[in-house]
């Protein structure tokens, strides 16, 4: 327990001590949020409807999918995990604790958005707040686990950037954050079903705001949960201690199994 507390405390502090992580956890997502709140609500008054849920999802995406994978690859390349292994730090802790601390950072940023979007930028308040909290926690966990999985399978930081952007950019474009999912062509809507953000947005729209949705909100919650659990399990299973010793338990392509719930949803 002491080891867990020490490890968790250190990782949590690192999220603010490390300038790159501080930027990805808070400065970048909250900066974009402030700009969107100031500019987008003026340019497109309808954006106030989506401001709160979309920006909560955006800040979570920033710290998890963009922020988490890089430090995992860098630590592996610097031999940090070799030191950890020699000193008895389990692989499960090495993956789970950053996932947890990143989830916390993402939720703090999301909390700032939830508290300010309505009074400061005139965002539309949800009818029910508990789905906001519930979906934010679920999405933060799922995206953190996915970020950890990217960090585990990526061979270098360039690959990390590429894989992260494969999720981040489509999430921004077709995830329902900037443009409502219902306004996108049907084929694009189906592809949007492969993105955690689209499901989170749909769940928030349906459960917190009581609006009509393209996906069933409860099914979206289930997909997010199973996708997150699968990504978390695979990240631990595929974890590699050492960039010089590529022996691992499974092929990195096994990471694609984390897409299974989204693919099943797409097929059904």
């Amino acid at each position: 327990m002491t080891a867990f507390v020490q490890h968790f405390t250190f990782e949590f502090k690192t999220g603010m001590r490390n300038s790159t992580l501080l930027f990805m956890n808070y400065l970048f997502p909250l900066g974009v949020y402030a700009i969107m709140g100031l500019v987008m609500t003026q340019v497109n008054p309808f954006f106030t409807d989506a401001l709160l849920p979309a920006m909560i999802i955006f800040v979570i995406l920033g710290s998890t999918i963009l922020g988490l994978p890089g430090p995992i690859v860098e630590a592996r390349e610097a031999g940090v995990y070799r030191s950890f292994k020699i000193n008895g730090v389990p692989a499960a802790s090495i993956v789970a604790i950053p996932v947890l601390t990143t989830t916390f950072h993402a939720l703090i940023a999301a909390g700032i958005v939830a508290l300010t979007a309505v009074p400061v930028f005139g965002g539309v308040a949800p009818g029910r707040w508990w789905p906001i909290a519930g979906v934010a926690v679920l999405l933060a966990f799922t995206c953190s686990a996915t970020g950890a999985l990217i960090g585990v399978v990526a061979t270098n930081t360039r690959a990390t950037t590429l894989l992260s952007q494969l999720i981040f950019l489509p999430s921004m474009l077709i995830g329902g954050l900037m443009v409502p999912l219902s306004m996108l062509p049907e084929t694009v809507q189906r592809f949007a079903g492969l993105l955690p953000t689209a499901h989170a947005m749909q769940a928030l729209e349906g459960l917190a705001y009581g609006r009509s949705t393209t996906f069933a909100p409860t099914a979206s919650l289930l997909i997010l949960l199973t996708g997150g659990v699968l990504a978390f399990g695979l990240a631990i299973y595929l974890f590699n201690w050492d960039s010089r010793n590529q022996t691992r338990r499974g092929h990195p392509l096994m990471a694609l199994l984390a897409l299974a719930p989204y693919l099943v949803n797409l097929v059904l």
């Binding site: 002491t2 020490q6 502090k13 001590r17 031999g79 030191s83 020699i86 000193n87 008895g88 201690w241």
Partner: protein, 302 residues
Amino acid sequence: MNDTVIHVSDFRKTYGETVAVDGISFAVERGEIFGLLGPNGAGKTSTLECLEGLRRADGGALDILGVDPTRQARKLRNLIGVQLQTSGLPATMQVNEAIRFFCAYHNVAPRYDLIERLGLKDKQRSQYGQLSTGQQRRLALALAVAHKPPVVFLDEPTAGLDVESRAELHALVQELKTEGTSIILATHDMAEAEKMSDRVAILLRGKIVATGTPREITATGAGLTKVSVRTEHSVLHRNGAAIPGVNRHLIEEDYAVYFSADPGPTVTALLQYIGDHSDTLIDLRVERPSLEERFLEITSRR
């Protein structure tokens, strides 16, 4: 009671077609400092990493206090302490945090005394990335021994350290030895190996080519003692006096240098010769063959 703590038998490690370690065997006793020497690519790191449980052996048997490093990694953790050559710690981890963090995983109380002992007291709140190379290595050593393991692996422990830090580290290593800790020391610093090690093994292309105490190893070579003489009028420079026991001689700046298999008669004869030729002795140095010379002799011969 069997005092062997590390037993390596016919150990092999390959990387694809490349044989890194080719069937080596050795044992390390309790309280012994065992030097593992060899040029780059000799197989030292592969041997250490397999013993530390970081890699899997491809053949033979490895045993540390009854534990197989490959199969019983969890049991191994509290038995060994490792100072890696490139000790990676998170750049943002503070010195105090590192001690707390690793001691917690070893389930022991934080060893802040080691921070003071290794001269890092002023750096307790400094982050690892802000420490100098020497300070990082000292912290790595503190972390390696914090849980008082019976076996410690030191990989180039003094690389990048200043003279004072080296002396402090050597003193700490001797203290660990006195307490019964067995130490495997991998180093390129032959003087350090000779000074610190009870026994050494020289690895070359994956095989042990020499093993024994430093004195035994140096004795098995050509065994020539170096006698350097400097006189006021350099009488030894000018002639080819027949000096008993001398294998070869040369001039190094102001010194006449003789390599002798029998240094006693050689020195006596040299002093006699200097006196007979009305010259005055300024300096006389007698150096037995060093481990470094023997190491170079072995590695260049093969």
